[in-house]
Amino acid sequence: MTIWSRFAKWFGRSEDDALSIPPLDGKLKPNSRLDAAERLLHLPQIDNLALDGARLICSSGDTLFSVDPAGWQTAPIRSFEGHITAVAVSPGGVLAVGVEGRGLEICAGGAWHSRNLGDANGCITAALFRSENELLVTVGSRHHPWTEWKRDLMSRGASGGVVSVNIASGEARVVRDALAFPYGIEIAANGELIVSESWRHRLLAMPPAGGLARVMLGELPAYPARISPASDGGFWLALFAPRRQLTELVLREDDYRREMMATIAQESWIGPDFRDHANGDQPLQSGSVRQMGIMKPWAPSRSYGLVVHLDAQLQPVSSYHSRADGHMHGIASILEWDGHLYIAARGAGALLRLPLEEMT
């Protein structure tokens, strides 16, 4: 280490201070395959996807829908008193829905009942049945509700965790806490829990009962969302927004961030987003699109579409993109079913489908 490096470190500078973003190359090389995917239906705010027996269900806003594959029509199942933030179905047919501000709504044998998770009620981001009676949920934040997710990021929030809920008794046990917005959960073949930690851009593996977590895939170039199993023993990972140098800079500038949060409407904050709002307040976003051979790194797009196929060791195998000039942004959920991959592009409000046999 040179004397200048030491000198700089005295003033708080370290190697981690570099405003750098991991490259989108190799297996993550950009393409436009999400934009080329079949668009099955348009549903603004489409978010969660789940399979209830042979029925595809999805959520949009405060309503849970079933989707009829014949004609791709939706039929509402139930509306709730808040945004639906997570949906899971057990093999036995128990349906669990995370509702912002309400906690869990459970439907077993046709009857609905609620489960209060206290300060975790506002931001349940994903749910997964480990058994018929145990539901694992990821809690993005205990300080901010789901709709305030951007505030949680800008507050450098790390109050999330994984909670195990006993369906019958309603008892909740913290499996792991102090996570920075866990957004997806799956179970590996060896029983370990795989959790996507969005604000730290990584996938963690932790023992089934909780405990020390290992970083299985770190330094992701985008913010990871939900995970779902793949038929080849691997996983599908949705990433809802890109990391940008501008965002990293804002995340480092505490005073700027505080003032931004205090004085500007949330949709205009500089930071990741599910979609390009395309309004006059955000003209900078077009800088990510190369025009006349020029890219403007100071004007990045805040949204992107990215699906990554991971192997059983959580290493990337292939990826599917909607680039800065595409529209299928803000991928929130993925479901492999019936020889196809179903993708909820929340930013575009579209349900996409890709045939598995054409995916390499």
Partner: protein, 499 residues
């Protein structure tokens, strides 16, 4: 044939009784472009160096403009109208381009501004975009070559010898160079053109001569040659498609773990937020025109250059952020950078082959008590001589006595002796003959097959296409395109490099 201006008659040149060429009968006509081709160590450079006054003939005669000559020095040769543009540039790095152009021709009282203006005019006349006030040390290899060419033109020579002039030039610059050769020819000058790019020889030469193992094996009008015939004459075997025709037949090696990553790396105006990854078990080809910042990116990764101190991005080695102060730190971490400019950065040319190779090992700190065993050096070097088929008289020969291709192999051996797991080849076959290119390519492939992460920086598209598993294209200091080998074509790569 028009008037013969240069003639070698039964010419032989030996070093320590080992002939570099023997009984060569070669003629150059006035106003002719004569391509001289041959494998590594075939004697091309030595033959032309005799003409340029660097060596005397051992036996036989040299006639220039009808008179028997034996030039005592390059100045002597230049006085008789013979100018040579060397394979390795011989410019003075600490002087400006203009000062180099007029070196040896200075007036008693010099005015820098006047020299700069004259140099500017000269460079513009040749369509060379080189700043006359720039220090030569700040120029890339291609621009140094341009200055070298401009200097020969400046001397108003009648006989020009170009030794691998286009090796580092971009396609655009090559077109300028070919136009320059055409102009020189139309003015009645004669040109000997040594190149390993056979297509170039076929395109611009009037006649072609082929040397093999010091003997002239073929001389004919260029129109009478095909690529296959030249290659056959050069190496005595059919090499069709062996070098650059493999792209369609192969599939890329699968990528292993990410070994090296540059994240938004910046260095002055040369490298601007460059981002790339290199994977184990693969050959990553990197293409870009001169000034695209390819070499600088790789030198930053290898600790040869330093990225910007503030906002200079990150270099990650196996997922860990690193910042090298000196190249030795990178060497110790398993990174080998094999330079594009072997004469300046690659070899100690007055030291022996074995010493040069062993220096690589010493650089890794393999000998902490600083006791150097020359016997061990010779022993280890002998193994590499055999492994890389470095053709030499003996292992303790000085590197300067080797041909370009064999020098390159010494540079490679010097790095491979460090047992690196990330190997960066910068223009690995620049100034290297066809046979040695095949050997070097095979060695690069073996390294990737053995699991090393290999980067090949090259300006030669067929090389990039034939050897790479994935291709990165650099432009204006950043990576602008990544291509799989299935998708890449010469046109698509070049399009990405210029748009």
């Amino acid at each position: 044939m028009s008037e013969v201006i240069v003639e070698f008659r039964n010419a032989t040149k030996s070093f320590r009784n080992v002939p570099a060429f023997r009984n060569v009968n070669f003629t150059l006509a006035r106003g002719e472009v004569h391509a001289l081709l041959g494998e590594n160590g075939a004697g091309k450079s030595t033959l032309t160096k005799v003409l340029a006054g660097l060596y005397p003939l051992t036996s036989g005669k040299l006639f220039v403009e009808g008179k028997a000559r034996s030039f005592s020095s390059p100045i002597d040769a230049l006085g008789h109208g013979v100018a040579m543009v060397f394979q390795e540039t011989n410019l003075i790095p600490s002087m400006t381009v203009a000062q180099n152009l007029f070196l040896g021709e200075e007036n008693f009282f010099n005015r820098l501004r006047g020299i700069n203006i004259k140099a500017q005019q000269q460079l513009q006349r040749l369509s060379f975009h080189v700043e006359p006030t720039a220090l030569v040390s700040s120029l890339g290899a291609a621009k140094k070559q341009m200055v070298e060419i401009a200097r020969a033109v400046q001397r108003n020579a009648r006989i020009f010898i170009f030794d691998e002039p286009t090796a580092t030039l971009t396609p655009e610059e090559k077109q300028h160079f070919f136009a320059l050769v055409e102009r020189l020819k139309q003015d009645g000058n004669s040109i000997i053109f040594i190149s390993h790019a056979l297509e170039e020889a076929l395109a611009i030469a009037d006649r072609i001569s082929v040397l093999r193992d010091g003997e002239l094996v073929a001389t004919d009008a260029a129109a009478m040659f095909t690529r296959d015939r030249i290659v056959q004459a050069m190496v005595g075997r059919q090499l069709k498609d062996e070098l650059y025709g493999e792209q369609a037949k192969r599939t890329a090696r699968p990528a292993g773990a990410k070994a090296l990553a540059l994240e938004n790396v910046s260095m002055g105006k040369t490298v601007r937020s460059a981002t790339l990854s290199v994977f184990a078990g693969q050959i990553t080809g990197m293409f870009g025109l001169v000034g695209a910042g390819r070499t600088e990116m790789m030198k930053i990764a290898a600790g040869v250059l330093k990225r910007d101190f503030f906002h200079g991005g990150r270099v990650k080695l196996n997922g860990e952020s690193v910042r090298f102060s000196v190249p030795r730190q990178a060497v110790n971490k398993g990174i080998a950078y094999i330079t594009e400019d072997r004469k300046l950065d690659g070899i100690f040319d007055t030291m022996s082959i074995s010493q040069n190779i062993f220096f690589g090992k010493l650089a890794k700190g393999a000998n902490p008590i600083s006791v150097v065993s020359m016997a061990q050096a010779r022993r280890e070097a002998a193994g590499w001589l055999e492994k890389l088929t470095i053709r030499t008289i003996r292992a303790d020969a000085r590197v300067v006595e080797l041909s370009g291709g064999n020098q390159q192999k010494v540079v490679i051996a010097k790095s491979l002796i460090q047992a690196p797991n990330i190997i960066i080849f910068d223009e690995p076959t620049r100034g290297v003959d066809v046979g040695a290119i095949a050997e070097i390519h095979a060695m690069i492939r073996d390294l990737a097959d053995a699991g090393a992460a290999v980067v090949v920086v090259s300006s030669y598209l067929p090389e990039i296409l034939s050897i790479s598993d994935r291709i990165l294209v650099a432009r204006q200091g950043r990576i602008v395109e990544e291509m799989s080998i299935e998708d890449a074509t010469e046109e698509s790569i070049m399009y990405a490099a210029v748009h």
